[in-house]
């Protein structure tokens, strides 16, 4: 590559509109005597999981060098959050990594609660609902991860199975939060509203259906010879590599380290739940697949425990602090919007101060003491950290997210260089990066 005889490199722009372009390239390749080609994969490529761009240096079919180009989905979410109240920040950060909206919300809210000093005052029931929603979200995210993994290997059945399971979970989300994605459900101090009637029985049904769906996927993939040939000993990265590059999540656990923030730094009361951390020791794409499959089963176990606890734990779902908690429980009207009629009658009819307080809290928001806080949750892709800085106002001074996809992407060159071109697809799919989270 760095031979002294290297001449000035020639550049070619391929628009695809003229077949003669390739003749020029072929002629130049023959002249140079090297079988090396730099190709551009993405940002518009069906197998790069969104708008990731890979610049690959190929020697024949062998990948010599991988360079990653990100930023094609940069949305300015962190900047936008600086111009909204602390509560409104939830609606922005939920749209970052759009396959795990509830984790984004939870991580942000945990950080804000830490800054407010109300971590212990968040109601028990709200924490249980958070855990249940996050675990269901983990399953839906993993189902899409495994489904797109299959699709990128050329197996549409895996995709349809994954999507079907996800649809069921999204139905439950819609019942509980009102929307399929981008919920804005978890708020600083609790969750926005209690479970609707019939939600727990719905979730119980969902658990049975999902368990069945996971079983089908396992049957379809886990011993499938084509799948094994494509994933075993492919996209290998060992534990030392993972730790050096800051890789977390299923990648790290597939390399043999049972590092899971739910166990090692519990939040939302995870220390009270009984579940195992899925670990594999192969460090390859197949190991990651097995970790994800096992994690879905473990998540179902946690959801079952949540349901048992919800049956015995009543009470509010928002902090009992009029300075922070939203003024009233929402009561849905016929127009699909609304607020508790009792509450409105009370503040409009008899209490001017309550009306002023309601107005100030909704339009201006609450103040957060100056300082900074870091909170992290174990998202489906790894450690999702949030660093919030407050200058004492009603809006964040700075919110920064440590997105697991962004950090994990560093491992792509280590996984791919020296391998085959086709295995680059497997490496990216097994890593499951979400560009919405990477670029924010």
């Amino acid at each position: 590559m760095t031979s002294e005889t290297a001449q000035e490199p020639e550049y070619f722009a391929i628009t695809g509109s003229d077949p003669r372009e390739w003749e020029d390239i072929a002629a130049a390749a023959v002249k140079s005597g090297e079988d090396r080609l730099v190709i551009n994969m993405g940002p518009h490529h069906p197998s790069t999981h969104g708008v990731l761009r890979l610049v690959l240096t190929l020697d024949g079919e062998t990948v010599e060098e991988v360079r990653l180009v990100i930023g094609y989905l940069h949305t300015g979410i962190e900047k936008n959050m600086e111009f909204r109240t602390w509560t409104q920040g939830v609606t922005f950060c939920t749209r970052m990594d759009y396959l795990m909206p509830l984790f984004n919300e939870a991580a942000y809210c945990l950080a804000v609660e830490k800054l407010l000093g109300i971590v212990d005052r968040v109601p028990e029931r709200a924490q249980i609902i958070r855990v249940m929603m996050m675990e269901l979200n983990r399953i839906s995210s993993h189902l899409v991860a495994i489904g797109t993994f299959g699709l990128e290997l050329g197996a549409t059945t895996v995709m349809t199975n994954g999507l079907l399971g996800r649809e069921r979970i999204l139905d439950t989300f819609e019942m509980i939060t009102g929307v399929r994605m981008n919920h804005g459900y978890i708020r600083p101090g609790g969750v926005v509203q209690d479970l609707p009637p019939g939600a727990t029985s719905n979730v119980r049904e969902l658990i049975a259906q999902t368990r069945d769906g996971i079983g089908r996927l396992a049957k379809l993939l886990n011993a499938n010879p084509v799948f094994l040939a494509r994933t075993r000993n492919v996209a290998y990265i060992d534990l030392r590599g993972c730790v050096t590059l800051g890789v977390t999540g299923p990648l790290l656990r597939s390399a043999g380290l049972p590092w899971d923030l739910r166990k090692s730094q519990p939040y939302c009361g995870y220390e009270n739940y009984d579940f195992d951390v899925a670990v594999q020791h192969s460090g390859d794409a197949y190991g990651r697949h097995l970790v994800r499959m096992a994690e879905m089963t473990e998540s179902l176990k946690i959801v079952e425990q949540c349901l048992d606890r919800l049956a015995t734990t009543g009470g509010p779902v928002m902090i009992d602090d009029k300075k922070i908690g939203w003024p009233a429980q929402l009561a849905l009207g016929a127009d699909g919007l609304g607020n508790s009629e009792q509450h409105i009658a009370g503040i409009m009819g008899s209490s001017m101060e309550a009306l002023i307080h309601h107005f100030k809290l909704v339009t201006e928001g609450f103040r957060v003491p100056a300082g900074e806080a870091y909170a992290a949750v174990e998202s489906p892709r790894g450690e999702l950290g949030v660093h919030v800085v407050s200058d004492g106002g009603t809006r964040p001074y700075r919110v920064h997210f440590r997105d697991p996809s962004f950090t994990n992407l560093q491992a792509i060159p280590a996984m791919c260089e020296g391998g085959q071109l086709g295995d680059v697809i497997v490496a990216v799919a097994s890593l499951d990066p979400l560009m919405g989270g990477v670029d924010r």
């Binding site: 940002p43 989905l73 940069h74 300015g76 999507l163 649809e167």
Partner: protein, 179 residues
């Protein structure tokens, strides 16, 4: 576009329009252009529950050269804008564009330095789908409406006459003139 554009206006054109419209609307091939959250809902629309195959659209084309519908699903950043324009230019005529979701339609909640405030700044959009993200059913609704429009699309002299009519109306300052 093709030979159908060169038929004289007084001979068989109505029939050819019907035939071409039927063929085009029954086998619309979308280009995969997933950007953000909406892309996942677009995938869900192609999934088993909503099943785009009912409309002859299950073949999402990875190459723009074999696609005639561009579904812009998600927020479009300034860095991505030239890419999407190139993809659009690579698609053969006739072609249509759906702006899926508020971000694609108007920039949505991301009124900031990073996001193009509506893909209609760089592409001619035929159908806007509101929602954040729109449900798969809403995308299906937009697609069915687009099918209907494609089925009735005039060709050749009829098309020229329609365009002239619209231009005349626009010059008179009448608002609400569509395509």
């Amino acid at each position: 576009m093709g030979i159908e554009e060169h038929l004289p206006g007084d001979f068989l054109l109505g029939r050819v329009e019907q035939l071409a419209g039927w063929a085009r609307s029954s086998s619309l091939w979308p280009a995969t252009f997933g950007l953000a959250c909406c892309a996942i809902e677009m995938m869900a629309a192609g999934g088993p529950r909503h099943d785009l195959a009912r409309f002859g659209m299950e073949r999402f084309s990875a190459t723009p050269r074999q696609a005639d519908l561009l579904i812009v699903a998600g927020r479009l950043s300034h860095k991505m804008a030239p890419v999407i324009r190139q993809v659009y230019d690579q698609m053969p005529e006739p072609k249509w564009v759906i702006a899926m979701g508020v971000c694609a339609a108007s920039g949505g909640m991301f009124n900031n330095y990073a996001v193009v405030q509506g893909v209609d700044k760089i592409l001619p959009v035929d159908m806007y789908v509101p929602g954040c993200p729109p449900r798969p059913e809403m995308l299906l609704d937009a697609i069915v409406k687009l099918h209907d429009r494609i089925r009735r699309e005039p060709l050749g002299p009829h098309r020229a006459a329609r365009l002239e009519e619209h231009e005349a109306k626009a010059l008179q300052g009448i608002s609400g003139v569509g395509r």
